[in-house]
Amino acid sequence: MTAKTIMSSDLVTVTSDVTVAEALLKMSKYQVHNIPVVDETDSFVGLFSLRRLAHELLPTAARLEAESFQMDIAFLSDQSDEFLQRLQEIGRKPVSELLEKKKKLRFCGPDTPIPRLLQLLSENPTSLPVVVVQGKRQKVVGMVSTWDVLTKIAVNLLPGVSGDEQGARED
């Protein structure tokens, strides 16, 4: 078994010129947490995630991290009006401005064996999916999330559970 066996290959992607609002509409329509951003030849540009969106909705000062120390902001009150304002501002930005940092991403090839894939999934600090890319031009061919591992491998092997109980997948 390799990454190819369990990856999701029917990917929903966007190009880097679309706005965050457009990307979010597409993500909500297809019910995905993460969406790869690609260029016209399907080469990987970056990953836009709901995790990053949540981060961006925080006040700027609460997003600063220093020496692995992040400010606790439990003292902030409810600020739904500002939250909406920030959401509107972010929505107008091109998605290319809010991509996940490269160091948060993990890549593999279609032929990557499962053990290495599990390692990549478990070391990734933010539970983002592993992006499966192929060739020199980093063409995106699929993504593997922990969900894929659960639904496509583990469920079939668990005692007393039949495979057809798999629900709607998300990734």
């Binding site: 006040p59 000062a61 609460a62 600063l64 220093a66 120390f69 400010m71 902001i73 439990a74």
Partner: protein, 445 residues
């Protein structure tokens, strides 16, 4: 002393030349900031030993373990206690006490910064106060620049006030045997005046034009500072240990205890209190994390510097330099004190004050015969402390706390321009040195 260094010639040069070249070359590389300063200092120190200026035993004798112990102990205490959220609590609380008026917040946060910097280290203080400041100014929709500027000054001025406030003071106190109380009685009294004068100028420059809408202030007033306390038991343990340590510093001298003992014992006690009730694995994780947060780069930088300085001291270079300075000032104590405070201030604004002070200490010590004994050098020590600590305000690179604030500001989208900062900071720093000089003159000369 004479037996400590090799008498033989190295590469056709006498030890005094080798030591001087090594010293100057090391300091030159440190100033360029191209290579991490701890690495540079350690390589310089290593060469002092391998080239035979010092043997290892002499090199280790040159390291001031009292300074290192005091720094490390306080760093551990700070690493543990800052997780309690006490800094955020005090910052939000103080902002609300002034009804979230921008100028009031600037004054309150400056005072908070000054007090914390006096009792803990400056870097941690601004590391925790600057983000809250950015958050508050974001809510108020005002520029954070005047507040951050004031906090930089407050941290360095507050740090001047006590033995443990700033590394130069720790080094001077340790090398000369000046106690916590000596610093409290001799340096602390002038710091409120310097802070007040600084805030006065900041008011004239920005204070009159700082306005926030009622709606924005209302948002800050709705902050709930109690929620900032993330760990109430830890807060109590930290405050208990910090109080004990401060009492310990006050009583240390009569009890014939060195500050490093107090700080290290405090660190161990706090680690003990926070580890009680945890299993072995959890304990080792906690202790490991707390030790990991000690700024080892600074500690090893000190180790390297102490050896380097001991090297040039050992070959007699510092004595020669000291005699030059005394020659220039004609052996006049007042003139020498003024030279020390102004030269310290200007150089500390441009380069790191730690290597400067490390060099100045043995140099001033060797002036003792000129001024009739070590006990007459006291005005020079206070001049060095005031000049080196306050000088750090002169530019963004003058002190590590300044760089931390600038780093935060930049990431929050409010870059602090180097020259723009210096245009106001340098004259303001000179003003504080004028006040300090007048104080030194009337109090100690």
């Amino acid at each position: 002393m004479a037996a400590e260094h090799a008498q033989h010639v190295i590469f056709g040069l006498s030890p005094i030349w080798v030591a001087s070249i090594l010293f100057v070359a090391t300091y030159a590389v440190i100033v360029t900031e191209k290579i991490n300063r701890a690495i540079v200092a350690l390589i310089g120190a290593g060469l002092m030993v391998t080239l035979g200026v010092l043997n290892q035993e002499a090199a280790i004798r040159g390291i001031d373990f009292n300074t290192l112990g005091l720094l490390t102990g306080m760093m551990v205490i700070v690493a543990v206690s800052r997780r309690s959220g006490v800094f955020q609590y005090v910052a939000v609380w103080s902002a609300k006490r002034v009804q979230a008026r921008p100028w009031g917040i600037l004054v309150m946060l400056s005072l908070v910064t000054a007090v914390f910097s006096a009792l803990l280290d400056n870097v941690t203080t601004v590391l925790l106060i600057a983000p809250v400041t950015l958050l508050i100014t974001e809510e108020l929709k005002i520029s954070p620049y005047p507040l951050l500027f004031a906090e930089i000054f407050a941290s360095n001025i507050g740090g001047t006030a006590t033995l443990i406030g700033d590394p130069p003071n720790i080094m001077i106190g340790s090398a000369v045997g000046l106690s916590f109380n000596d610093f409290l009685l001799n340096l602390a009294p002038i710091t409120p005046f310097i802070l007040a004068a600084t805030l006065g100028v900041i008011y004239l420059v920005w204070g009159r034009d700082m306005h926030a809408t009622d709606e924005a202030r209302e948002r800050v007033m709705s902050f709930n500072e109690r929620e900032a306390i993330t760990d109430a038991p830890l807060l109590k343990q930290s405050l208990f240990v910090i109080s004990l340590v401060v009492i310990g510093f006050v009583l240390a001298h009569p009890l014939h205890l060195e500050p490093a003992t107090i700080a290290m014992a405090g660190a161990a006690l706090l680690l003990l209190l926070t580890s009680l009730g945890s299993d072995a694995e959890e304990q080792s994780e906690k202790v490991h994390k707390s030790f990991g947060e000690v700024e080892w780069v600074t500690i090893f930088f000190f180790v390297g510097l102490f050896i380097l300085v001991h090297g040039i001291e050992n070959v007699g270079l510092l004595e020669i330099l000291a005699n030059r300075v005394v020659g220039l000032t004609g052996g006049d104590l007042t003139l020498t004190a003024m030279a020390v405070i102004w030269v310290s201030a200007v150089s500390s604004a441009i380069v790191d004050n730690i290597p400067f002070v490390a060099t100045m200490i043995p140099m001033i010590k060797s002036m003792a015969p000129t001024f009739g004994g070590a006990e007459n050098l006291t005005p020079l020590w206070w001049s060095l402390a005031l000049g080196a600590c306050l000088g750090g305000n002169g530019s963004l690179v003058g002190a590590s706390a300044n760089l931390i604030v600038a780093g935060f500001a930049e990431r929050a989208g409010h870059r602090i321009d180097f020259l723009k900062f210096m245009a106001l900071a340098f004259p303001l720093m000179l003003m504080s040195i004028v006040i300090a000089s007048v104080y030194v003159y009337f109090r100690f000369l």
